[in-house]
């Protein structure tokens, strides 16, 4: 029995017990359902073993949506707790756990898979490729992300959640102050999914550099592909820093080393330093693909080519470098000298310049365009003013002297939600609506979509703008309650209403998906939005091999050229198409990583060592394996193509 005590939650509450029961029931329900409908074989063949970038993209998408709801539940609990003074829905410890998991889930397990979803779904199609450079590695990336996400999400029912904030600063995150296994979960779950992200970075860069369609030079790539390219460059150079920081945090906690301790030469501030050397580039990893999506959407629905293509590319290249030069702005108050703070103040303000260039380019694209107010376009138009407010408050925070006042108040919280929600979340929802028909063969309902947009926008403003005021008045972040005398009550209540509206908006989005599955027409053609780039030039839904013949490209809007200017996209004979084989190994490695991670978290050394050996065995197996892929023959291609042409779908 003693052995099992370690898995108990140190700080239980009725809510956690209820969640345990709910999780148990849902798992049983899912397993029973799949067995009852005999779907295991289908799942294994079509999804668990797939190496197809489109299916992997869809799995990322579903995971991201699930995590959005997990993180959203955390958020609404926090807002409820703060909705009026001296609330007692959550105690301090629970509040700590919830703001920690909220942050980690939203950044690492919601936003990251969301951008990976779109990179996977869209990039190979936009460059006219049949898959990514390393399809098997791509599957492994996904399963590592998924293993990390699941590991992190069981923390609150097995052993306790992390509670030191998503930034997990030491010494708070050290063994002395964080005694439960929660912070071990943090270190190891993020490590596992981070390795997956790094591999995606390498994969995508190679794909984009080497697999573009004939004629597509770098400066003829669609803007989303450019943004994905730059984001992946940042991933490749930023994530190793996180890897090492997490490794050191892990050994501090598990093996009593002195990296981030306050004794024996340890330096707690080094964690903060490394965390933000990764952390600031990370926010650009999230926002750049979002910018890319907005570029696609705004140009499609303004029926114009994107204004200032070259300056768009240039500003992103500049951002990729600058994003590594600003990290100190997250800890101006940590005690370094005025010289350092001044340098990093200036670099931080400088990064607002290329961002501003992009805003003007979008405005000029819309100027004189024929704008169609579809749902994706509404999100894009809403994004511009809202995100600008986030950027401007960012520049306020960038002034190091002023930051002594703003730092760690609700003002900061308002700033980064003001950039991330209109910036990243709106982009993801816009992209979801925009690309949905390409992958599922029907459109999402526009009318419900517009409701979601307005609910979300109004909710957002109500929820976060009051925080600028309470923050300036001194309301600290991460405080689980406040007294009535502070006067923060009314504005926090307003925030709660805003949050509730946002929650309703997300429910309407789910409702929209269900409604459209049932009611939307299926005969939408390949190009329902009258769009401009290559992903719309192939069939809907996209066949396994993407393009029967590889497209010929002469500009960044090849499909538009083909539609309007008589450009010939597909020429030449059909040839056999080489495709990679499916493999179960990535999925199995995901499971082994999960077991290894779990064992490390609880310091169970025997299973940990066995699992590590398992991982190396998989790698060795891969080294000896001969796998030449398979061919889809011309006859088969013709059959598939004729099905599309006959309009059978």
């Amino acid at each position: 029995m003693e052995f099992f005590e370690r898995f108990a939650v140190p700080h239980p509450s009725p809510m956690i017990y209820a969640s345990m029961v709910a999780i148990g029931l849902v798992v049983i329900g899912i397993v029973f359902g799949i067995t009852y409908f005999k779907k295991w074989g289908y799942l294994w063949r079509e999804w668990f073993t797939t190496v197809d970038h489109k299916k992997i993209g869809i799995m990322y998408l579903i995971s991201a949506l699930l995590m959005l709801f997990r993180g959203g539940a955390d958020a609404i609990l926090m807002r409820l707790q703060l909705s009026s003074p001296d609330m007692e829905i959550l105690d301090a410890q629970h509040y700590n756990e919830i703001f920690t998991t909220h942050g980690v889930v939203m950044i690492i397990f919601m936003a990251m898979p969301f951008i990976f979803a779109f990179m996977n779904l869209v990039v190979p199609l936009q460059i006219g490729a049949r898959d990514v450079a390393f399809p098997r590695l791509n599957a492994l990336s996904f399963w590592l992300f998924f293993a990390g996400a699941m590991l992190f999400n069981i923390s609150f029912v097995v052993g306790g959640s992390p509670d030191a904030g998503w930034t997990s600063y030491f010494p708070l995150a050290g063994n002395d102050f964080s005694t439960s296994v929660g912070t071990n979960y943090y270190m190891i779950a993020i490590q596992i999914s981070g390795i997956g992200s790094l591999m995606t970075g390498i994969n995508m860069i190679t794909t984009i550099l080497k697999m573009r369609a004939p004629g597509m030079t770098l400066m003829k790539m669609p803007m989303f592909t450019w943004s994905a390219f730059i984001a992946n460059v940042i991933i490749v150079f930023a994530f190793p820093v996180l890897t090492i920081a997490l490794l050191m945090g892990t050994t501090d906690r598990l093996f009593a080393t002195n990296f981030f301790t306050t004794t024996n030469g340890g330096m707690d501030m080094l964690w903060a330093n490394f965390f933000w050397v990764w952390g600031h580039p990370e926010v650009y990893i999230l926002i750049l693909p979002a910018f890319g999506l907005y570029s696609e959407i705004i140009s499609t629905f303004s029926s114009r080519n994107l204004y200032g293509y070259k300056s768009m590319v240039g500003s992103m290249v500049l951002i990729s470098l600058l994003s590594f030069l600003v990290w100190t702005h997250h800890f101006f108050t940590m005690g370094q000298g005025a010289l350092t703070n001044s340098i990093f103040s200036v670099t931080t303000m400088a990064i607002a310049v290329p961002t501003g260039v992009k805003i003007f380019n979008w405005l000029f694209t819309m100027y004189k365009g024929k704008i169609r107010f579809t749902v994706p376009m509404l999100y894009s138009i809403g994004f511009i003013p809202l995100f600008t407010v986030g950027g401007v408050t960012g520049v306020m925070l960038a002034m190091s002297a002023a930051d002594y006042q703003f730092h760690n108040t609700m003002f900061l919280v308002a700033h980064f939600h003001n950039t991330i929600i209109p910036g990243v979340v709106f982009a993801m929802l816009a992209g979801l609506t925009y690309y949905w028909p390409k992958f599922f063969g029907f459109m999402l309902n526009e009318k419900i979509g517009k409701w979601s947009f307005w609910l979300l926008s109004v909710g957002f403003v109500l929820a976060f703008f009051p925080m600028y005021i309470t923050g300036l008045d001194g309301q600290a972040r991460r405080m689980y309650t406040y007294s009535e005398a502070t006067g923060f009550g009314p504005l926090n209540l307003m925030s709660f209403f805003g949050a509730a509206l946002m929650a309703i908006a997300f429910v309407t989005i789910v409702y929209n998906i269900l409604y459209s599955i049932k009611n939307s027409p299926r005969n939408i053609g390949n190009d329902p939005w009258d769009a401009r780039s290559l992903e719309w030039a192939t069939h809907t839904p996209v066949p396994e091999y993407n393009f029967a013949r590889l497209p010929q490209v002469a500009s960044s809007e090849a499909y538009w050229d083909a539609k309007k200017n008589g450009h010939k996209l597909f020429t030449g004979e059909l040839k056999d198409i080489h495709m990679p084989n499916n493999s179960g190994v990535p999925f199995i490695m995901g499971i082994i990583f999960f077991v290894a991670g779990f064992s490390f978290i609880f310091a169970l050394w025997v299973p940990a060592v066995i699992a590590l050996i398992g991982i190396f065995a998989c790698m060795a197996l891969r080294s000896f394996e001969l796998d030449h892929g398979r061919h889809i023959h011309v006859k088969e291609i013709k059959e598939i193509e004729s099905q599309y042409e006959g309009g059978a779908k």
């Binding site: 550099l209 080094l270 050397v277 100190t328 370094q336 350092t340």
Partner: protein, 93 residues
């Protein structure tokens, strides 16, 4: 036998041995910290570059430009991280 030992690679080895010996001067002779560090920086970076060009054939394929960009980008960010951190945590603390 001779074709197995191309002059370029042999020269590469000789050169990197020489650079190592020069670096060792720092240990075996008396010199100021500044001079020593300068020698180390110069020898280390030349050696790294030597490996990259002579042994790793970085520029040989048509992806040579991408490869060099990648490596130099990595080096720049690496130096920024190292010196930035030292500035923040030691020199200006």
């Amino acid at each position: 036998m001779k074709e197995l030992f191309p002059a370029k690679q042999v020269m590469g080895l000789v050169f990197s041995l020489v650079l190592t010996l020069v670096a060792l001067l720092v240990h075996f002779t008396d010199m100021s910290f500044a001079v020593g560090m300068t020698i180390l920086l110069v020898t280390a970076f030349i050696q790294a570059f030597l490996q990259l060009v002579v042994f790793m054939h970085a520029g040989e394929s048509k992806d040579g430009k991408a490869i060099y960009t990648n490596v130099f980008y990595g080096f720049i960010i690496a130096l920024v991280t190292i010196f930035g951190s030292l500035l923040i945590l030691i020199w200006d603390m």
